[in-house]
Each structure stands twice: as C-alpha cells, then as structure tokens.
Amino acid sequence: MELLTVLLVVIPLICAPITAMIADRRVAWALTLMMCLALAVISAMVLNDVTTGKVIHYELGGWKPPWGIEYVIDSLNALIAVIVAFIALITVIYGRKSAEQEIHDSQIHLFYAAFQLVILGLMGMALTGDIFNLFVFLEISSLASYALIAMGHKRQALVASFNYLIAGTLGATFFLLGIGFLYAASGTLNMADLAARFDDFASMKLVITALLFILIGLALKAAAFPLHSWLPEAYTQAPTMVTVLLASTSTKVAVYVLIRMLYQVFPQAYWEEMLLPGFLMLSGCLGMLYGSYKALCQVSIKRLLAYSSVAQLGYMIVGIGLNNEAGLTAAIVHMFNHAVTKAALFMAAGMVLMRLHTTSLDKLRGAGKTMPWTTGAFALAGLSLIGVPGTAGFISKWYLVQGALAQGNYLVAGSILGASILAIMYVWKIIETLYFDGSDKLHVHKVGSGKQIVADLPVATACCYLMVFACFYFGLYTSIPLEAAQTAVQAMMGNGGAQ
C-alpha cells in the first residue's frame, strides 16, 4: 500500500511528458484516460485502507523525515485524492468531444499534458507531508492551470488567465514567504515535525506572521471571499473540460491545505484565541451571500455557476471558522458534495455551449423543449446545489447549520439559510428560462430536436447524468464521504494538533 500511494504522483509525472511528445489527439486522450483510471483505482484502494484510522507514511528518496520529504496519507487527504481522481476520470471521458471542438488540433496533446500536470499538482498537494514540497506542487498545478485557461477559444480567455496568473502568483508568494518565516523560526519543513516541536518556537512573533502569510496565500488560491475576483472570469473563459476539473477540484484542494495548516501544523489552541475564527466566519458568510447575489445577477450560465462556486466556498470557510466537530465535518463533506454537484452543472453547461455556442440565458429561452436531457440535468443537479433533502448538498448544509447552532451563532445559521434562498432563486432563474420562456427559436448546432441531441453526445450526457446520479446517491448513502470526514475530524480535534 505504501508503494501505491507514491504511484498517485509518479504515474502523472511519467504520463505528462509522454503525452506532450506524442502529437496525436487520440493517443493523448487515451493516455490521459488510462492515467486517470489508474489514479482512480489506486486512490479508492488507498481510501479504503485508511478510513479505519490507519496512517500511511512514505519516505521519498530513502531519506528519513524530518530531513527527507515524506508523504503522509490519512483519511482526509485520501478523500481529497479520491475526489481529484474520480472527477478527473469522468471529466476526461466527458470532455473528448468538447476538447476537440474548443482546442486547436496542433495544441491538443499539450492541452492533455497540461491537464495531467494539474492532476499531478493537486495529487501532490493532497498527499505530501512536507510544507515546501506542497508549495512546489501548488505551483505545478497553478502554472498548468494558467496555460489551460488561456487555451479557451475566446480572446478574453487570455485576459482571464493573465488575471489568474497575477492573483495566483501573489498567493503563491505569500504562501512561500509564510513557509520561509516558519522555517526560519523552526528549522524544519516537515508538517508532523513542525506540529510536534511547535511549543519550542510558539512564542516568536514571526510565527504569527507566518500563519497570516500562509492563510492569505491559501485564501487567494481557494478564492475565499474578498480574494475571489480571479475566479469568475477564469471559470467562464476556460475550455469546458478545464472548468469542470478546476471548479470541482482545485479550490477544494486549497481549502484542504487550509484545514491541514490550521489543524495539524499550527495547533488549534494557538489560533483559537485570535480573531481568526471570527474573520473566517465573516469571510465565509459574506462570501456566500455576495456570491449567491452576484450569481443571481448573471446572464451567462457559466458565470452564474462560477459565482455560485464563490458562494459554496464560503460554506467551507464558515465550516472551518466554526471550529467545532460538526462545522469541520461539514466543510470536508461539502468539498466532496460540491465537487460532485458543480461537476454535473458545469458538464451540463458545457453541453449547452457545445450545441448552441452560447451559455447566455437570454438566448436559451425554451431550450428545455429542444434539449430535454441537458436541461433536466440542470434541474436535478440544481436541487443539490440548493440543498434539498435527499441530495448531497443537503447533508453538508445540515451539518453546517448544526455546527452553527451548537455554538449559538444564529447569524451564521441565518446567513446559510439566506444564501440557500438566494440559491433557490438563481437555480430557478435558469430553470424558468429553460422551461417556461418559450418565445425564442433555438439554433441548435447541426441537430434538429428531440432524441437526436442525446444521440449526438451520448457519452457526455451519460457522464453528466452519472454525476447527477452521484448527487442523489451521496445524499442518501452518505457513508463514504462522511466516514472519511469524521475519522479525519476526530484525528484532528482529538489530539489538539499533533499527529
């Protein structure tokens, strides 16, 4: 099992340069598919192994930690690895047609290579137990995603990518400075070692600075509320496959790193007394209200969903800020549930884009009659986004509200409900336009109506519905994400930080 964990990083590392060398779109796609399949199988096995509470350690290069780089896998990062691997797998199956349509033939193998590098970076961030190694993987995934976003077929994609580049680089710089300060104070980069020896250097002022720098860097990467401005344009302009992958994984991994830092590197007791939990809750609450409100104002479906992502990230930040078991469980489960839900929604939006070459709502009036399957996916996944009982979105919101009430924090509970009402409104806005406004004549690309549409994109539709099914499945059978989250939360809350 130890050997398998490192393969999660090694396989994409070997696969990506090979893909970049072979200039054939079918081979590139097949290689990416095989890589994702391998990662999905391995990550599922690893998760199955660690939900019992076991922790896997793997020492790279034969150097003993804390000097060498070590991979530490517990149930939290195994869950993240599973999210990344499975979303990537389904995205690759889904995206074959859309990538061929959106990406120029001469670039498509590079597109897939960069796609694999993003997965490599996210996997590495999830698995590593070394804080500097984490920065390296953060940069790998970020640089690859700048390139991927820039490949969007409109010229605005370049601007969106450049904005993300600036914001992302600032975030990475803050994060690196934070690591530097922490290293200066402690002399170590190993997370477990940092946590174990924290009391030796906890009195230094430098450590507070390090914490704040790391937090700000990660908040930029995670698009937490005031630092979210790069996200909507980046998601809107990126090619469909990239939007699906990034929306459901990359910000989640940044939130995961935030949790790891706050609960296992810096002891909980260290930052609990600061204003920090309050700030996190404030940022989260404002984020979910602002994100939902902005989503309501949007005309383009892709941008609407992107703003809704800002709002959903707010829920996770609030979960961390609540700083109790229910809140943290909610944050972790919501990463999983939101990944599934947003993947389904962006896949549906991608199919609309492929058929009609627009996602602007004012051009999609009455599309429900022409594209019943795609719009059906919108409606069903939208339920999960709102958090209707029986869907995945309900589970995490339920825990979150419980966490807020357990603290007697009615303001937070109220914000969650308020944001949910806004969510109903923006999901309804989509549904109303698609189903109840029947005035425009649609210009469906190449295809007339009815069953032909499904027949033309059977694989993409099937993948989309797989994610929709997952929204409901994980709403009814919550054991996989919930058990992993609870094991992780108990490990983190139980022994006050040290592993």
Binding site: L13, A16, P17, I18, M21, L60, G61, G62
Partner: protein, 140 residues
C-alpha cells in the same frame, strides 16, 4: 548586426567554448558548484548568442523547435525514469542508493542522470521561450 565580421568570427569561436563549459558544469556538478539548471542555461546561451548574430532562422535550422519540444519532455521523463527504476529495484521513489550494488555508486549514477535530465529540459525550455518571443518580432 549579422554583417559585422568581427561579431561573426568571435561568435563562431565562442559557441564551442560555451558549449564545452556547459558540459563541464553539467558533469562536474556533483563535485563543484553547478548542476543541471546552470548547465542548461549556459548551454542555451550559446545558441542564443548564435541566434543574435546569425538570426533565428539559421538557429532553428540547427535546432528546430520540434526537437526542442521533444527534448523538454524527454528531460522530465529521464528524471522521473530514474525514480521509477529505483522503485523497480526495490528502493523508494528516487532512492539512488538502490540503483547500483553499492549505495555510493548508486548515488553517483542517480545524481548524474537526474541532473542530465534537468539540464536537457532547462536548455530546451530556455530556447523555446526565446523562439516564442523572437517569432513575434518581424524580421527587419
């Protein structure tokens, strides 16, 4: 610039010396300051000098962009390949000691091969960057 005789002759003299120095930095890197990154940059600077004096056209005849693209990936593959070989030989990923019979020899082989990978990738990427930007300037 290309019609200056002095520049052309000096460049022809300098290019092999720079390449040789790059190789020295590359392969002596485990005993003295240097290594793959520095060597790669020095190696590519020889071609940069050539391109500045003789033009990008002439340089890309010597080293076409397609070769650079392959090289950039091959270097990464070489680096990762060393890790995989050490995995197969029973060590952990990138455990050079497992590469040979004695750990000392293994460490030597490991560091030289991965630095070679770094050198190839850095040299190729540096030149690719130069080509990419040079192409956007119209020839005078």
């Amino acid at each position: 610039m290309s019609d200056s005789l002095i520049l052309r002759v000096i460049t022809k003299w300098l290019v092999p010396v720079i390449l040789l120095f790059a190789l020295y930095v590359q392969f002596h890197g485990d005993y003295s300051p240097g290594g793959g990154f520095q060597a790669g940059v020095i190696f590519s600077s020889a071609f940069l000098l050539y391109a500045l004096v003789y033009g990008v056209e002439a340089t890309s005849r010597v080293l076409p962009e397609a070769v650079l693209r392959i090289g950039a990936s091959a270097g990464v593959l070489l680096f990762a390949g060393v890790g995989v070989v050490s995995l197969f030989k029973g060590g952990t990923f990138l455990d050079y000691s497992a590469l040979s019979d004695t750990p000392l020899a293994g460490q030597h082989i490991g560091i030289i091969v991965i630095e070679l990978g770094v050198g190839i990738t850095v040299a190729c990427v540096m030149l690719l960057l130069f080509y990419t930007f040079a192409r956007t300037i119209p020839p005078q």
